[in-house]
Symmetry: C2
Subunit: 218 residues, 2 copies
């Protein structure tokens, strides 16, 4: 296996796509063997790229035969760390928090929101998908008692930095941030910003460019 | 201006970050002039990168002085197409749909969900942030009457492809897809997949790698 530090980010981002596709084939479609061409075809990824991505992690499959679906699913799952369940705390029990707790595809990805927090006393005590909303004052204690490493921030922008700091202090090592703001955290903390407004802009950029082209009659 | 087709994707993805930062400085912080170093500093982007990104679109700012915040905000907004409001239809009035309709940062990004649809008769007629949930049977008519180009999919995975096809048939040109599945649509339709489970996997990958390193005592 290549040193993980030298593996391209784009490869890492494609692994979950392979994993979900393999999981579906293995669990629901009863497929035993898949070629890099077929796997790539389902995901709009060239077969050469599929083979290159997987080759960073070892030798899988047999030339001219393909990959054993069950074995490759397990291997990719292990690489991703989704062969176990990582519990996570969520702060922010609003609509987005609800949507995240109810999101069905997370468990397959080795992720489960086990505790939900809010600072709003009107929300504390409510149940979301069987989880009781707890006061954010209990965050540190619960993170430590349960040795939780993952935190999800779904609070309004102005509260996000304070929540991030509490998470870091509690022992959280990786933060998934849905608030549209850049968090300032120590370097060793991994942050993934899920900045929804940025997602839409690429579409608007495309649409506005299309209109410009049409207006010019090109 | 360089031909838009040749501008790196990473540059395009940074533009909304610049825009939001400039908008904040212009609207709330009363800043008149900003250097590429200060602008980059707020976003963890090197000043050389800021200058390079902006240079694709023309000449902004004055060497040794910096950028006029108000002018640059307007210019970047125009490039992004967010200098006007793009109306969008949303299909799926569940928790995620609610969260998206209520998301506050969209309007600044030139995006507004003007119509909400669902197929569930129990949801039809409900109000979300002042918008009435309408039967998905009316999608085509409303898209055409209002000349809407943008569609947002927030339905369960199994319904997403059918919704995408209805959107395309109605005249939608760009789809923002929150269902964890790849949509098959004509080539000229722009799709942005907002695949939440993929987001978390990069964090889990990081955590699992960290644990491996710790276990090895490295």
């Amino acid at each position: 296996m290549k040193d993980r530090e030298n593996i391209p980010k784009a490869t890492i981002e494609r692994l979950p796509l392979y994993y979900r596709c393999l999981d579906k084939m293995d669990t629901f479609e009863d497929v035993d063997v898949v070629s890099s061409k077929d796997l790539g075809g389902k995901l709009d990824i060239p077969s050469t790229q599929v083979r290159k991505d997987l080759s960073y992690y070892g030798e899988f499959g047999r030339r001219g035969v393909g990959y054993n679906v069950n074995e490759l699913r397990k291997s990719v799952g292990k690489i991703l760390g989704v062969d176990r369940i990582w519990p996570a705390v969520l702060v922010g029990a609003g609509n987005l928090g609800h949507a995240l707790v109810n999101y069905k595809s997370f468990s397959m990805m080795g992720f489960e929101i086990t505790h939900v927090f809010d600072s709003d006393s009107a929300k504390i005590g409510n149940l979301i998908n069987g989880r009781e909303v707890v006061s954010v004052n209990d965050l540190g204690r619960i993170v430590q008692e349960n040795n939780i490493k993952l935190g999800v921030i779904a609070v309004p922008t102005d509260d996000a930095q304070a929540v991030a700091e509490e998470m870091v202090e509690s022992g959280i090592k990786a933060i998934w941030n849905f608030a549209p703001t850049r968090l300032r955290v120590p370097e060793e903390i991994e942050v993934k910003n899920e900045d929804l407004a940025v997602g839409i802009v690429s579409l608007i950029y495309h649409l506005s460019w299309q209109e410009e082209i049409e207006a010019k009659g090109e």
